[in-house]
């Protein structure tokens, strides 16, 4: 009986080609759009996380603050080899780690250009993911291994008015609050990576030590990269306990990036000395979660509007179809088809239409997404700030495609339920007398 209804439903779809193509195309378009939207959101999230976790934070960070007086704080850890020894064996999830300096300085060029910079101190030879995110357009990343060198981003050039080989003076107070300067040579200029390249610049670790007059073994944070970044929160909690047991003063978890803790919390507290601060990538990239939340809200709104349009469209079209086929329904009922059969027939018809439309839409969406990624479409600068990338990247995930197909098909079938019930309730005699 089920196959009979399926056959009738399929024949109905084929018999009404125009309507089937129209409705199927609409469903396919909605599915394709949904896949592209989800791909765009996932792409932005992926790009932001990849850029953020390479440029600004590890999955888990062991940083800290030194306060020489109540009002004077610096984002520093001392004797990090000892901290590394304390962590040994406690992070089986660890993939690799890097040690990064943290600092703030005013950069002033000989040409007169100047701007405030957030400095990252690194040993370029030990950085693995850095080269995948930071793409030099001039100079060489390898030259960052030399002391007194700096890497800038393209968007900083108009303000600093420098090029590769030029000298920049970095001026900053030390942890004791005494002003110091270091002259650095610009060795590389990298392609901008959105928000994070607005203020960030990278110097060799040695340069930061010199600027802040720190002993070797001092740095900004130990950045730990895990096999799975979702383990960050439990790993951070475990490390807080491990480090406290090892005798370190450890700050409580606080979902804020280190620079906000520095300016808004640590300088306001009365303690002096040294405290460790264990943070996760979610804490350090909290501004990204704000952007992603806004993006998700926008996506949800768009999807809701799309969903409502689909439901209304399908209901309306099926309603018209039932009106047109009232006599046909009456005949089917007269030759013995039960009400449930009629209901199933219309639902199967909607299901077939939804299934076919969504599969076609998924294929279309994948093709368009692939094409956009292949074309590496450039995005305007204002959009780059949010995307953290200069090209549009769509990350279409299999689960998202499957979800879109199932969701749109389900909505199509659900939208058909009411018209199908109305069709099933028709009396055979009155239906056969209907002239539509």
């Amino acid at each position: 009986m089920g196959f009979t209804e399926l056959g009738i439903a399929a024949r109905n779809l084929l018999a009404h080609t125009k309507r089937t193509v129209f409705l199927g195309s609409a469903i396919a378009a909605v599915t394709g759009l949904l896949i592209l939207l989800l791909g765009l959101t996932a792409g932005i999230e992926q790009t932001m996380l990849r850029s953020g976790t390479v440029l600004m934070t590890g999955h888990v960070n062991v940083g800290g603050f030194i306060k020489t007086s109540s009002g004077q704080a610096a984002p520093l850890i001392t004797d990090y080899p000892a901290i590394l020894r304390a962590l040994e064996g406690h992070v089986p999830e660890l993939h690799h780690l890097v040690v990064r300096g943290r600092g703030f300085a005013k950069g002033v060029a000989e040409t007169g250009g100047a701007m405030d910079l957030i400095l990252g101190g690194l040993e370029i030879g030990r950085e693995t993911g850095f080269r995948q995110v930071v793409r030099p357009v001039a100079g060489s990343l390898d030259d960052l291994a030399a002391p007194r060198t700096i890497l800038l981003f393209e968007e900083q050039l108009p303000r600093l008015q420098v090029g590769v080989g030029d000298t920049l003076t970095l001026s900053a107070p030390t942890a004791q609050g005494v002003n110091n300067t270091v002259d650095v040579r610009v060795v590389a200029i990298a392609k901008s990576v959105g928000l994070m390249s607005t203020w960030n610049a990278f110097v060799s670790e040695q340069t930061l030590l010199e600027l802040y007059r720190l002993k070797p073994g001092s740095s900004g944070a130990i950045q730990l990269y895990l096999h799975d970044q979702r383990d960050a929160v439990p790993v951070a909690a475990r490390l807080r306990e491990v480090l406290a047991r090892a005798g370190y003063r450890v700050m409580e978890a606080d979902p804020q990036p280190y620079y906000m803790k520095l300016f808004q919390r640590v300088t306001q507290e009365d303690w002096t000395g040294f405290k460790l601060d264990v943070s996760t990538w979610q804490d350090e990239l909290i501004f990204m979660s704000w952007i992603l939340s806004a993006l998700n809200a926008l996506t949800t709104l768009l999807l809701t509007i799309l969903g409502v349009i689909v439901v209304i469209g399908i209901m309306n079209t099926l309603w018209i179809a039932i009106r047109e086929r009232t006599r046909e329904i009456g005949t089917l009922r007269a030759i013995g088809m039960q009400r449930r059969g009629v209901l199933r027939m219309f639902l199967l018809e909607a299901g077939l239409l939804g299934g076919g439309g969504t599969l076609a839409g998924a294929g279309l969406g994948l093709l368009v997404a692939g094409g956009i990624n292949r074309l590496q479409l450039a995005v305007p600068e204002s959009v780059q700030v949010v995307l953290m990338n200069d090209t549009l990247v769509l990350a279409v995930q299999p689960a998202a495609v499957l979800g879109a197909v199932v969701a749109v098909s389900s909505v199509t079938v659900l939208a058909a339920v009411y018209p199908a019930i109305r069709a099933a309730r028709l009396q055979p005699v009155s239906a056969m007398h209907h002239f539509g």
Partner: protein, 264 residues
Amino acid sequence: MRQSETFVSIILLVSVLFAQIPRAVAEPLDAAGTVALLRAIDERQRSSGDFKSLVYMEQKERDKADVVYEAVIYRRDADDKWMILFLKPKAEQGKGYLRIEKNLWLYDPTVGKWERRTEREKLGGTGSRRADLDESRLADEYDPTYEGEEQLGAFKVHKILLDAKPGVDVAYPQTRIWVDQATGNILKTQEHALSGRLMRTSYFPKWQKVFSESKPGEIWYPQELRFYDEVDRANSTLILIKQVDLRPLDANLFTKAWLESKSR
């Protein structure tokens, strides 16, 4: 009777001390003489009672429109208390810094919050710091090295290199000062970073004095202060000190509550 005798004696002692300065400094100085000169500079500016002045600050900064601030500075040197309350421009009105027990606090009325800041912070985004507008503590904070005599424009000056004493809280570890041999006034300073780089040049072309009954004696203060950023050369600050008032201030003036009440 005894009180008036003591008063007269102090006046005479102070007069003799200041009468000595021009003669004492109008020739190359040895180490002891250099330290004595620093002490004399500090003493000339010391106010034993309260000190209030109206100041105008003009800030020139790269890529920004010039800003003129009007503020009132309050000092109670005996307790190391210091406060500045901004009156203009409108955006800065009610903002203030308060120094209590070596802690500098900033009050921002727009958010109604106090923030602890470093002693060396630039005030309200200008090129000046708290120490520029507070009492002089050169002898306490620096070890001097006499570098010789020089001609600074029309003035014959002593050039002295000052190195910050260990553990002293100063923004620049090394400062060079040019002291007018005729008056004992500082006419120019140059401050250097730890790296040795010149960071800021300051000029003090006009000095004024007011008589303090509580000191008792004259208190000297620079009427015009010009600060030039030597790293970012587009930045400079001009400060004019007006209407110095040495009358006693309210006892509860140097409190957070008082500053907050002024911003309402």
